[in-house]
Symmetry: C2
Amino acid sequence: MSNPNTFNLIETCPDSKARAGELITPHGAVPTPVLLPVGSQGTVKTLTPEEVRNIGMRIILANAYHLYLRPGIPTIEQVGGLHKFMGWDGAILTDSGGYQIFSLARLRQVSDDGVVFRSHIDGSQHLITPELVIQFQESLGADIIMVLDECPAFDVGFKRVQEAVSRTHEWAERCQRTQRRDDQALYAIVQGGVFPELREQSARFLTSLGFVGYALGGLSIGEPKEVTLDITEKTAALLPEDKPRYLMGVGSPEDIVEGVARGIDMFDSALPTRIARNGALFTRLGRVNIQNAAYSQAEQPVDTGCNCYTCRAFSAAYLHHLFKCQEFLGYRLATIHNLTFMSNLMNKIRGAIMDGTFNSFKDNFLANYRPTNEETRLSQKQKWLKSRSRNQ
Amino acid sequence: MSNPNTFNLIETCPDSKARAGELITPHGAVPTPVLLPVGSQGTVKTLTPEEVRNIGMRIILANAYHLYLRPGIPTIEQVGGLHKFMGWDGAILTDSGGYQIFSLARLRQVSDDGVVFRSHIDGSQHLITPELVIQFQESLGADIIMVLDECPAFDVGFKRVQEAVSRTHEWAERCQRTQRRDDQALYAIVQGGVFPELREQSARFLTSLGFVGYALGGLSIGEPKEVTLDITEKTAALLPEDKPRYLMGVGSPEDIVEGVARGIDMFDSALPTRIARNGALFTRLGRVNIQNAAYSQAEQPVDTGCNCYTCRAFSAAYLHHLFKCQEFLGYRLATIHNLTFMSNLMNKIRGAIMDGTFNSFKDNFLANYRPTNEETRLSQKQKWLKSRSRNQ
């Protein structure tokens, strides 16, 4: 096979499902487990590509749906493809937009052929098919591309999810048949909602088609966290050992540690960058909010043990001040801190797997890290999902 | 005199009043003529101190009024002073806040003693006196500090301006008497509105008090551009040769070139950074707006001759896209471009003065550079002044 995209499984944890490996892409090697920072619109919000690289990121996620709507695929193609357009020479994964079309856009009609939807930006009407989604992603030129899937809400019934699974399977086959470029890795997306039997059906069918990687879609979209983890564990166990497994839309520190323990290699999430812009910063003890009055006169950095630019150069009092004044620089510095925290976390996770100490690392991390209260988390998520479909 | 702040006049243009020199400050030498980028709230909007330095800036302006209200002088003092607070090791000039109190805040009462005003942020009531303004600026620890002045609107009558001049003079004396630190340079501010006789009175009186530097205040606040230049020329001619002359609030490329020709050494303006965030970018032919459809597919940088990070790394199409999506990175990249343009312009101006070719440089620059239409400029300025007093 001439496809330059491969996955090397390097080490497996003796006490859990955790794996260390590396993705080989046309734009460099990416150690796994990895979190992809989200740059839906062709920019990891607030940062330059240089900063993203200096933080330690080797792969980012962009979104074919957003880029299709704005600036349009032909513009990016003309400028020389997505890497050149955004000035990023590391690896890129483009999401197909399936999730966005079903959550962000105003749907007009879903048929076996494809989806007719209205843009969340200007209301214009568009038809997307599995074939078009592959053509768009081939034009964008990401290293890893995704099939078009149907992603129903987390709280719909079995029958509705079953239909979505069937359609996702048909669309996956059509995507596979459409692919022309041999330098991009096409990943399938397992659906099936919260129903283990549908997840199994989906994992088995998609595996039989032979994709370069497998994603778990339709999770972390509002269902309780135990359900996310349970379905993740069961589904990951059904996927091929030698292929990367990608849990879409998951990205809190505690969820990543739990996901890795269940055999996941790749994660993406806007959470670290989005909450940074709200002043929420990761520390090894949990999230803190820099706008809290406790920081107003704090001479120390937010996290004294942190090696990021923000914590090396600025006091918590300064960051607090920037947020109180709604200064752009505050959003940048918080984003740098959170992505550095995540990059360091992924390095520690990988190091622990390589050393055979992942389980004790995990226990130790989770014992210290206070996750956001589950009720608060769900209500925040619902609020965000709503504001997102209105404003994004 | 033990004050480490000095001004060296190095070269004078044989054909105009233009001068090249350098300010020596406790935080390094600053070649003049110089434009101070504005960081009112302790941050040059969107940029890190590192970026400001890499652009070539050696001095910035911060504002005692803004910092007094937020985060408060004691906070900055506790963290180790303004340089440390904002992570900037170059020179800083703090404006006293006179202009802001008279334009931004809701005034309650002006007396010979001082000014009672309400905060533009939360309406809280404050008293500011010349003595307090010096104490605040000594706590902040800038290299150059400014007296408290009274700055009436540009369109008030002679008598009102005359009163403001008298009060400005008394306050200048009180500021001078209050100063305790001997490592900061205190500059006076010449007032007198659009009346040459009042400007002359003010220049002569303040000169007789012997300040380290002299600013021209109350200009570029809404009056026609010819008036600004005329008053600048007449006032500069009355100030001591061997002291720096600072034209406050002026910062468009064409105004700076004209100001230098009239003997000005220092300028400050939020214009280059403010218009950047609206998508207006300087080029040698004039301002362009990156949101213009003409840029939507442009593979070239905004300014092909520019050496800034933005123009080296990104196409105009990408910058256009970022602005259309209201992405933070767009505001950063535009700010970097505009400040680099200004830094390069100041270098060219200084080089031309040193070479004895300033006049031809000026003619050539102004022949190419299309300034914003005067009517548009005034109406934009009015609009900005209004939105500023509401929102800043």
